[in-house]
C-alpha cells in the first residue's frame, strides 16, 4: 500500500468515533439529496406526463400573434406607423380554413388532429353558478389527440356522440356541485343560449385546473349554444414524438398565420415553477452536502493538529509536502466515499419508504402513492458534490499541515 494511504488509514482507524460521525454526516446529506430530489423529480415527471397527455401537444387557436397589417401602414410602408389596440374585425370568425389546416396536418406522419370550439359556460346547480371552460369536441377525434378517454372514471366520452345533450365534467367539479352521473345541469352561455345538459361522463386527470374548470360537450351542441354555427376556434394536435412540438407549431403558425402553441408554451408558467422548484430543492439539499463537508473539515483539521508531531517527523525523515497533502486528502476522500456509499443505501431506502406513502390529492380513493424518481444521474450528482466537498474540506487543513515547518514542532518537543 502507498505510504500516504496507510498513514491515512491509520489516522482514521485511531479515531473511529469521529470518523463514523463524519461518514454519517455525508451519508445523511447524500441520502436526503437523493430522496428529496427524487421525490420532486417524481412529482414533476408525473405532473408533466399528465399535463402533456391530457392536453394537446400543439393547440392552434384563432388568435394571431401579429395583428393584421393595417391600411395606414400599408399605405406608408417606409414610415414609422404604430397602431395601438387593434380590435379583431369579426369576433366570431374562428379558424377560417380549419378543414384545410386539419387535412394538411393529418397528412403528416405521426400527427393526429381534432377540431374543437372553446367557449365559456355557466353551469347552474342548486342555486349556484360555476363558470367553466367548455370545449365542444368530436368525441372520436378528440380521443385520438388526448388521453381524456383514459381518464374517464364514470360514463364515457363516446356518450357525447350518441347523446347530443350530454356533458362530461371533472370529478372535482362533480363533487363540488354535488352532481352525479345521469344528473341534469342547467347551462347558460354568454350568447344567451340556455339549456339542460345531462352528465354522461366524469373524468379525473389529477390536474386541479382541468378537473374543476373544464367540461366537454358535443361540438354541434357547443356551436349552437355559443351561437357560432360551424365555427372551429381551436385545433388540437397530437404528435407521436412530443419533442417535435415546437417544430410542428412553428410550421403551422408560419403556414397559416394562426397562433400555434406547443405544450411548452401553454404550460410555460408551470415549467417556470418547476425550474424555481429545482433551484430551491437542489440548492437546499445540496447545501446539506456542503455542511457534511464541514464535518470532514472538522475531522481532518483535528487530525492535522493532533498529528503535528507525526507530520513533522515524516517531513524531516524525507516525506515531500505533496505526500503530506495526499495523506489528508485521502482521509477526506475515504470519509467521502464511505459516506456516499452509505448515503446511496440510505437514499434508496428512503425513496422506497416514501413510495409507500399515499399521494396527496388521491384522497378520492385513487389509492395512488408518491412517486420517487431515482436516476443514476441523481446518485452521481450527489456523489460528485459530496466527494468534491470532501476534497476541498480536506485540502484546506492538508495544505496547512504541509506548509508547517517541521522544525517548529521538533524544537518544541525537545
Amino acid at each position: 500500500m502507498m505510504l500516504p494511504l496507510s498513514i491515512a488509514a491509520a489516522h482514521l482507524r485511531s479515531r473511529r468515533r469521529q470518523t463514523l460521525v463524519s461518514v454519517l454526516g455525508v451519508a445523511l446529506g447524500v441520502g436526503v439529496f437523493i430522496a428529496v430530489t427524487g421525490l420532486m423529480g417524481g412529482f414533476q415527471s408525473y405532473f408533466r406526463t399528465q399535463m402533456i397527455d391530457s392536453n394537446p401537444h400543439v393547440t392552434i387557436t384563432d388568435e394571431v400573434r401579429q395583428p393584421a397589417a393595417q391600411p395606414l401602414a400599408m399605405l406608408h410602408p417606409r414610415a414609422a406607423v404604430a397602431v395601438a389596440r387593434i380590435l379583431p374585425r369579426d369576433p366570431v370568425r374562428g379558424i377560417a380554413n380549419a378543414g384545410e389546416i386539419m387535412a394538411a396536418l393529418a397528412a403528416m406522419p405521426g400527427v393526429a388532429v381534432a377540431p374543437t370550439l372553446r367557449g365559456q359556460m355557466l353551469l347552474r346547480r342548486a342555486g349556484r353558478d360555476y363558470a367553466v371552460n367548455a370545449i365542444g369536441i368530436d368525441p372520436v377525434r378528440e380521443s385520438a389527440v388526448t388521453t381524456l378517454s383514459r381518464d374517464m372514471r364514470q360514463g364515457s366520452l363516446e356518450a357525447l356522440g350518441s347523446r347530443p345533450d350530454g356533458i362530461v365534467i371533472g370529478l372535482a367539479l362533480a363533487d363540488k356541485m354535488g352532481a352525479a352521473l345521469g344528473d341534469t345541469i342547467s347551462v347558460a352561455t354568454s350568447a344567451g343560449g340556455e339549456s339542460a345538459l345531462r352528465v354522461v361522463g366524469i373524468f379525473r386527470t389529477g390536474l386541479e385546473q382541468l378537473d374543476t374548470g373544464q367540461v366537454y360537450v358535443a361540438l354541434n351542441r357547443q356551436q349552437s349554444m355559443q351561437a357560432r354555427p360551424r365555427v372551429i376556434n381551436e385545433i388540437h394536435v397530437k404528435l407521436a414524438d412530443i419533442s417535435r412540438s415546437r417544430e410542428v407549431a412553428a410550421l403551422a403558425e408560419g403556414r397559416w398565420g394562426y397562433k400555434a402553441a406547443p405544450w411548452e408554451e401553454t404550460f410555460a408558467r408551470i415549467l417556470e415553477v418547476f425550474v424555481l422548484q429545482n433551484v430551491i430543492i437542489y440548492g437546499s439539499t445540496g447545501s446539506i452536502l456542503l455542511v457534511a463537508g464541514f464535518g470532514i473539515f472538522n475531522i481532518i483539521s483535528t487530525v492535522v493538529s493532533e498529528k503535528a508531531r507525526d507530520i513533522a517527523i515524516m517531513r524531516s525523515i524525507g516525506m515531500p509536502r505533496g505526500s503530506v497533502v495526499a495523506t489528508f486528502i485521502v482521509e477526506g476522500i475515504a470519509v467521502g466515499v464511505m459516506g456516499v456509499a452509505a448515503g446511496w443505501l440510505l437514499g434508496g431506502a428512503g425513496a422506497s419508504v416514501i413510495e409507500t406513502f399515499p399521494a396527496p390529492g388521491s384522497t378520492d380513493g385513487e389509492g395512488g402513492t408518491l412517486m420517487v424518481l431515482q436516476s443514476p444521474a441523481t446518485y452521481g450528482l450527489a456523489a460528485g458534490i459530496a466527494l468534491l466537498s470532501s476534497v476541498v474540506a480536506a485540502w484546506i487543513p492538508a495544505r496547512k499541515a504541509a506548509r508547517t515547518d517541521p522544525l517548529v514542532i521538533i524544537r518544541g518537543a525537545t
Binding site: 498513514i7 515524516m314 524531516s316 525523515i317 524525507g318 509536502r321 518537543a413 525537545t414
Partner: protein, 241 residues
Amino acid sequence: MTAHDVMDGEVLRAEGLGRVLQGAVPVTLVSGVTLGFRPASFSVITGPSGSGKSSLLYLLGLLDVPSSGEVLVGGAATSGLDDAARTRLRLAVFGFVFQFHFLLPEFSVLDNVMLPMRQLGRLKGVAMRARAMALLDSLGMADQALKKPDALSGGQRQRTAVARALANDPQVVLADEPTGSLDTRNAAAVFAVLAGLAGEGRTVIAVTHDEGLAAMAQRRIHLVDGRVVRDGPVGNAAVRR
C-alpha cells in the same frame, strides 16, 4: 554497504555557516561555523544549553536553511536547492535521531522502521521487511517488532528510532541528544550503537552534554554562543585557535 567509499573526501561540510532568526531583535543561533566530516567518524557536539548545538545539527541535516555560508553534501552545494530537493537528500543521505523518539503511535515498531524505506521506494516489500528486521535485531529489538511504541520502554523506543534512522542506509547519522530521556545504562548502550555505526563507515554526529558519553566519540566540537570554540580529538581536546 553503498557509497561509503569516498574515503578521502568529506561527506558533509559546513562553510562559514551562519543562522540568524529575523525578528524585532535578530537572534544569532549559529555563526561562522566551518567544519568537515569524513566517513567512518564519530563526532560529538557539546556546549552549554542554548549554545546552538541543535541549530547547527538542523543546518547540517538540511532541516533548516542557513542565513549565510553553505552546507556541502558529498561535495555539492545545497544552498540552491528547493524544499523538494532538500527533502529528497534528507531521505536518502541522512538519518535522524532526536531527543524525543517521534515514533508514529498507530504503527508497530517494524512498520515505523519501514516508513523511510517505503517513502524511498528502493526496496520491495519482502526485502524491506527483512532489512527492518535485521536492523531491529542488531539493536536487540527483534522480539519487540510487532509491538506498538506505547508498549515499549524509553530505551526501546529510542533504539527503534535509531533503527528507523538507519532504514535507508544513510551515509550520515545525526543525533540530537538521543539519550536525553534515558537512564545511564540505556544512554551508554545507545552511544555504543552510534559508535558501532561509525565503525561501519558512516559519519555519525551526535549532540550531548554528557561528558562520559562524549568520551566515547573520536572528535569533540565545543560550541559557545553559536561559535565553535574547540574542535579536536577526544581526550586531548586541542584549542582550535
